[in-house]
Symmetry: C2
Subunit: 303 residues, 2 copies
């Protein structure tokens, strides 16, 4: 594999690189911002790309936020973006359920193990759901629950899908109910299966961790929609009608963002060093996932 | 592998089988009882074995109960047993921490992710711990917790071990704290990693499931003490000074109980059909885990 090109400070190199693409897929956290801290020159960089006629898509695995929530985050930080430019794992899962899986009603109800971002996207796609942020399920399991889950009286007979995402309110009760639906044949989906969530300059359990109890109990891997799953790439391609060879994925994580672009046979990938992965990881001899190019920070694309 | 011998109704076969052993290791749930329902002739069968001079050990993966709790369960069902005859995964983990791992104090404190059975056994072995049933941790994670976990102000600097077991009160906060201790180098142990818990004639998430979030986040497998882990067999052998070739494991689950006896190179294993595994599983051509003998129910040993 050829060495990735280092573009920071190389104006000719940057021009040549940008000219190769019509569409840029952006990871957000670690690229545009870290938590509530926006990196330098982000709005100017996006403006420059737009002025060159590039199409921008913001691709995020964070299932706790809907596209509308994300738009608010962009607004708050002063980054110009449209709802339609945001593509999240919850949205991707909702589109899959509504337009591809298409279980016949009323047996298409979703048991949600996650936060409101999932609920909002299901609602936008007209998919019925239960669970999620329902306060009735945010409690300890009681002895009688075991019987009522086992005999089905605590279950909704119309649930045909269990959809798991990052759940800050994960508990035994919801895991037991989701497990029972799966034992009864429900489809098993996950917005994404990231093991960790970068927060507060450290790592916290990600969607793959909050949903791992269900995965371990049932002994199966869910169909998942976050990067690097190509189900997400297919959904993005379907929505934006992009030409993969003229599309570039920009991200900070080798095993999700960059791998996502490589597996999707995009024209190129660009790593930024403001997030999780270090350049030593892809410059090392025999590195598994190597971007086409890299910059210290996204603002370096301004030259 | 030779076919297992069917002993129900075969008096000569039973006598010959029992004569081969001095010690019987019993799984409890699915062998002696199911939930709160005791199987037929259990006290009489145990009495018969004791009258022949056999030593009995009750081996359980259930980490929510201490040996003392188990003794109460035996009493309630009218099954004669002594606390010292009970060997649970929580006890096994506590003995390992106190007598084998022996981290130097005060850095030997355990962060418990589980129920009171673990706490009781750690206390009995003189091991300091936090977490467990502490009501302060039975709450939702709040935004400031992320910072305080990441910067360590919510952590106890003396924690050197994270011990995970079946936790009916699992939540994101405890998982995030346990994950932070592991990132800072704590030892990672689990009482057991059973994926499921048989309850109310169905299956619920087991200790391996309630602890799976931590395992997924850290990306490592814990050292675990439940069947079929040979750490538990070694501990039983150490405590009871048994002769493995004269010891028989009795259980209902092929992949835990029977495998435990086979891996431990015991003289024999006996499957009972009152629990999880069906005889078709071990009588099938090419079956992986095959007991030496089997009975329909434990009471059949009375002849």
């Amino acid at each position: 594999m050829s060495q990735p090109k280092f573009l920071s400070g190389d104006e000719a190199g940057i021009d040549e690189f940008l000219d190769r693409f019509d569409v840029f897929l952006f990871d957000c956290d670690g690229v545009l911002w870290s938590g509530d801290h926006m990196f330098e020159k982000v709005p100017e960089t996006l403006e420059m790309l737009r002025s060159k006629g590039k199409r921008l898509v913001f691709v995020t695995n964070n299932s706790t936020k809907s596209r509308a929530d994300y738009k608010k985050k962009f607004d708050k930080l002063g980054i110009p973006a449209e709802v339609d430019e945001v593509f999240g794992s919850s949205y991707s899962a909702a589109v899959y359920i509504a337009r591809i899986l298409k279980l016949p009603a009323p047996k298409n109800k979703v048991f949600v193990m996650g936060e409101s971002g999932i609920e909002q996207e299901l609602e936008a796609e007209g998919v019925p759901y239960i669970g999620g942020t329902d306060p009735a399920l945010r409690r300890d399991i009681e002895p009688e629950d075991f019987t009522n889950i086992a005999n089905g009286s605590l279950l909704d007979p119309d649930v045909g899908i269990v959809l798991s995402g990052l759940d800050f309110h994960m508990n035994y009760l919801k895991t037991a109910i989701g497990f029972q639906y799966l034992q009864r044949g429900a489809e098993y989906l996950a917005t994404n299966i990231d093991s960790t969530l970068p927060m507060a300059h450290s790592f916290f359990p990600g969607a793959g961790a909050s949903g791992a109890g269900l995965e371990k109990a049932i002994g199966k891997t869910p169909v998942s929609f976050g990067k690097p799953s190509q189900a997400m790439m297919d959904a993005i391609e379907g929505k934006f009608k992009l030409n993969r060879s003229r599309t570039c994925m920009i991200g900070d994580r080798l095993n999700t963002d960059i791998q996502f672009g490589i597996d999707g046979k995009l024209g190129g990938t660009l790593a930024v060093l403001t997030g999780v992965s270090k350049k030593e990881e892809f410059l090392a001899e025999g590195a598994k996932t190597v971007p086409s190019a890299y910059v210290n920070a996204i603002g370096d694309l301004l030259g």
